[in-house]
Subunit: 441 residues, 3 copies
């Protein structure tokens, strides 16, 4: 059985150990100041490269990508606001969230009033620093807790942002595993956020370790992993790979998978794609609550993959969706918000999704007229020996009855109400007895 390798990999994986490893990746990457371009992204990808050999791509500023242009590259070394006594009242070194991401360089003295026009706070969470960006409108600014903001007094402040915004590159990482089929599964995660853990160091760590694990398995599909800056990254990748996107048969955007919330699956724009049925089947048969959301045209990079000119079958896997937890896009999205157990369970979920995708074949019953005689083939031996022999026999009958080339094993699991694993196990035995033949194409 070709994919036993994968199923075995899952079974043999020590998910406690894996959780610790995932959490270490998150912790290691946490201090880096990332953005949609720049050295923070490069440093992050170099780190990932040690986990799994991603290929780095560098696309020049100014490159036209559909309706967009690859922006100038942003890099930052230091930033602060000093009061008249020279005390750093806002300090980039304490948290890279303090600087408005993509802030242009500035060095000047300003009054409190002028300063305030460039400050961002969260009055409803006075202890937290908000995360703000200004990618496409040149501006400078600082983010700080509302508590600290209220301490600022009338004074002459020195503002300093030691950044550069110059022609350079947009950097992203790509990792490809060649399977038996040219058909691809796309797994994409965004790498543009600075020190925020759930959004999206969780996604980065999980995707990297998923890729690492799959690289050892014998796979039916080919797998393509993207580590890209949000929006401009997926647009750039799509522009550069427009001719090959038809190979993508299934896809997942992975983000915010480290918090303690239940899984959320956002369906593809198609709404009825195989990946939708696969993930729904897994979630419906899991023991936890979960949430299904119909596609809507905002969120993460599924927005681009599912734009009407592509309409790729790409869904999005999250735990608590973006914007639905208060810590979202604040300094409270830190190392405490994410947990090793959550990360490990997310990785396990992705393994399961991949495993079901790999196993989700369509078969054709080779004896479609009446039931085949299972008894004389000794198949009842398999059934009798099964822990749930009654259900396993039903699984055999369902697979035989539904295998007319139009129904995948997930379809059969859905219709029969039986677990995919049982259906898949039944199909394997029946195929081994030549009662089923895989329906290709």
């Amino acid at each position: 059985m070709k994919n036993n390798g994968l199923a075995d990999t899952v079974k043999q994986t020590d998910f406690d150990k894996m959780g610790a490893e995932l959490y270490r990746v998150v912790s290691d990457l946490f201090p880096i100041c990332r953005s949609i371009t720049g050295d923070g992204v490069r440093e992050t990808l170099q780190y990932i490269k040690k986990v799994v050999p991603v290929e780095l791509h560098e696309i020049s500023s100014g490159t036209k990508v559909f309706d967009w242009t690859v922006p100038k590259e942003w890099n930052i070394r230091d930033a602060y606001v000093k009061d008249s006594k020279g005390k750093r009242v806002i300090d980039f070194n304490k948290s890279n969230l303090h600087v408005l991401n993509y802030s242009i360089p500035v060095k000047k003295k300003v009054s409190l009033q002028e300063l305030q026009e460039h400050l961002f706070t969260l009055p409803e969470y006075p202890d937290w620093i908000p995360y703000r960006t200004s990618y496409y409108k040149e501006n400078w600014g600082f983010c700080l807790s509302h508590k600290d903001f209220e301490k600022l007094k009338e004074d002459s402040y020195e503002v300093f942002v030691d950044s550069t915004l110059q022609n350079g590159y947009l950097t992203f990482g790509e990792y490809f595993i060649k399977g038996q089929l040219p058909d691809e599964v796309l797994i994409s995660t965004h790498i543009c956020h600075p020190s925020l853990c759930n959004d999206n160091l969780s996604g980065i760590a999980m995707t990297a370790l998923l890729a690492k694990q799959l690289s050892n398995a014998d796979l039916r599909y080919s797998y393509r992993f993207l580590f890209i800056p949000g929006t401009i990254g997926s647009i750039t990748w799509l522009a550069m790979n427009e001719k090959n996107v038809s190979k993508i048969k299934h896809g997942l955007v992975v983000a915010c998978v480290g918090d303690a919330g239940n899984f959320t699956y956002k369906k593809t724009r198609q709404g009825n794609a195989e990946i939708d049925h696969v993930v729904m089947n897994i979630l419906e048969n899991s023991e936890s609550d979960f949430k299904l959301i119909d596609f809507f045209p905002y969120g993460y990079d599924e927005r681009q993959f599912c734009s009407p000119g592509f309409n790729l079958p790409v869904g999005c896997l999250m735990r608590t969706p973006h914007g639905e937890y208060p810590e979202y896009h604040t300094s409270a999205d830190d190392l405490e918000l994410v947990g090793a157990k959550n990360l490990a369970a997310s990785l396990k979920m992705c393994f399961t999704i991949v495993n079901v995708l790999e196993e989700n074949k369509k078969y054709i019953n080779q004896n479609p007229k009446c039931e085949p005689q299972l008894g004389r083939r000794g198949i009842y031996r398999h059934i009798g020996g099964h822990p749930d022999s009654r259900k396993f026999q039903l699984a055999m009958l369902w697979v035989l009855n539904s295998s007319d080339g139009h129904h995948s094993l997930v379809d059969i699991a859905e219709r029969s109400g039986l677990q995919f694993g049982l259906i898949s196990e039944a199909a394997e035995i029946l195929a081994a007895e030549n009662l089923l033949k895989e329906s290709v194409g």
Copy 2:
């Protein structure tokens, strides 16, 4: 923007004033004794002509119209029942409901017993006079309150109906507004009922004033208004216009729109027509309760428009449906049952329907691959300035994502859960920026 004219018309309309005007039309037309043919209909149409220049059509008795024949014309001058003392115990002059509509002429003395065979009452509502007709079976008769009926004693009665039933004409009114497109919206209302207010002076008044208001607007569709006697009128019109009915892309039969009940929309026979989605979207986004009914083959003239040989996309707008209020087809359907406010709100509802139909275009995203960059086009300026900027931005994204030529703006409003107005406003801005192009045909 072509239809701003219409949207502005609606905004500028003083619906309080309009309510008073609608109520005046109802009051003015109330005393006239109408039927499916005759001078009452002519007088009514002459009155409407002062509101909006409807064209009168006269179709000869005996004309074959599909399976039917245009009947003889009926006119009536007086009718009464006198007791032996010469007292008018039933008097047409007091209410034209007292005579069986289409009653043949009669003048004779009858006993109480013989008289009773020609009397109609409503025992369950003893104060009300019922409304009865005998169009296609020659008969004479009187309708009276059950209370008065019970006062009739053994006597010799003189019955007199001063009517004529002779070859003449069936009269109906038609008003056409030419829009940019040859595609037509049909709005039809029945004019055959005598002194009954809700059924259907309400529909007549509302349709006339809707036609008047639309005649001043710059319209995409052409609009055809029919003021016709029920059943035989629509059959006659369809027989005479059989070749042109394919121009009718949307239609509404309007009746019983003056009472205080919530709106009721009866869907077209097709059940999934654009007019169905338009009206449902408006009702679902209104603040009042409403009722949706699937098509059924009785009711008003939608029966004919939706007969299987035509199957036109014609729905029916009412408040309380016929037969579901006790005053229906009785003398209690009078000037007190209908209200200026109700009439005005019905007119406003029809304006809204027309407005959504006019605006409900399909567009094609001109940058279907990935999202276009809204920022560099200054579109965020529109968004930022919007009272509900978050929803307005979503509206933009939904319109862009769904505009593949298959989804109308109402479809997008339905799918996104956003107000049609927001979707339409977003589409207008995107089209102005050449990000969308109307999909024609």
Copy 3:
């Protein structure tokens, strides 16, 4: 009206008398030891032949039928277990359930321990003898009540099964009624169970008497009745009649129709077949509760008729489904479990199904443009004289409006919410007036 014959037959049937007759058939057939082959089946079919002239078919052991082979024929004369005192502690003569069905011949002395390996009991129902078979795996055995089982002491037992398992025949019965059309309705029931009443002497009796009654009627469809051993019988019949199965337009497997439970209808694999709509319409308009089940690939011979290579529109009518009553496949499925009233009501249900199938035509409105004028044809006479004249008029309008060749009368009944009988009666009058014409093919 062609089928009045049938409707009249139903009306004139004395179902009390019929119930007694059905119960007598069940009682007469109860003692016979049936199996999937052998003289018990022949004797049963000979009995049925006196009710309705079924044709007996004998298929040789060893005949290949799709993936199966017709098995050896099994016959049994006696079987017992005697204790060392010569007392029959288990005796085939007391109940034919005592022997494992298809038990091979055996005659030997065994210890209690060895004996126990061949005994089957039902610990949860200690008074009942289970029914067990071993058709395709040669074995000998006895079934007994758990109470009796517990009385067995250490002893030397003589076991004796006087059976034969030899080349012979598989026997089944078939009865065909030629109707006006070559299109067939299949009604199939299994005849392989020994002394079990509900499963399936009830089905045998009901099918035999249904066939008898229909043989006197003037029928539109042809009807084919199968009295076959379960599984191997339907497989054999399908193998022998493969070329003709396309004539089967509707079908029912009938089983377990004598108990007091409500009706259960298991839909065809197609799920949307005419027989599904017919039975659902009848059940939904009946006054009793009922149960609808989607197709699943186990149960009775619908498994074979609905295998993917045939996918025939064959549903299954039961009262309490197999396995859902405790007496199922035990000695408690006896003459007390089934009742004359239940059997008669099941027969009446099948008559109703046949009657609706016969009447369920599609018509084409001959005046599809606008409504035809019913008044001048005197149709209001029919309506006025009808016990529920308002509904009957609606039925006329629904039939006219929906008769576009795509909707059968059952479809119209479903959509309108009116009784099929009313719809059918309306169609008959309209067809007699040439307002409808049957849509053939």
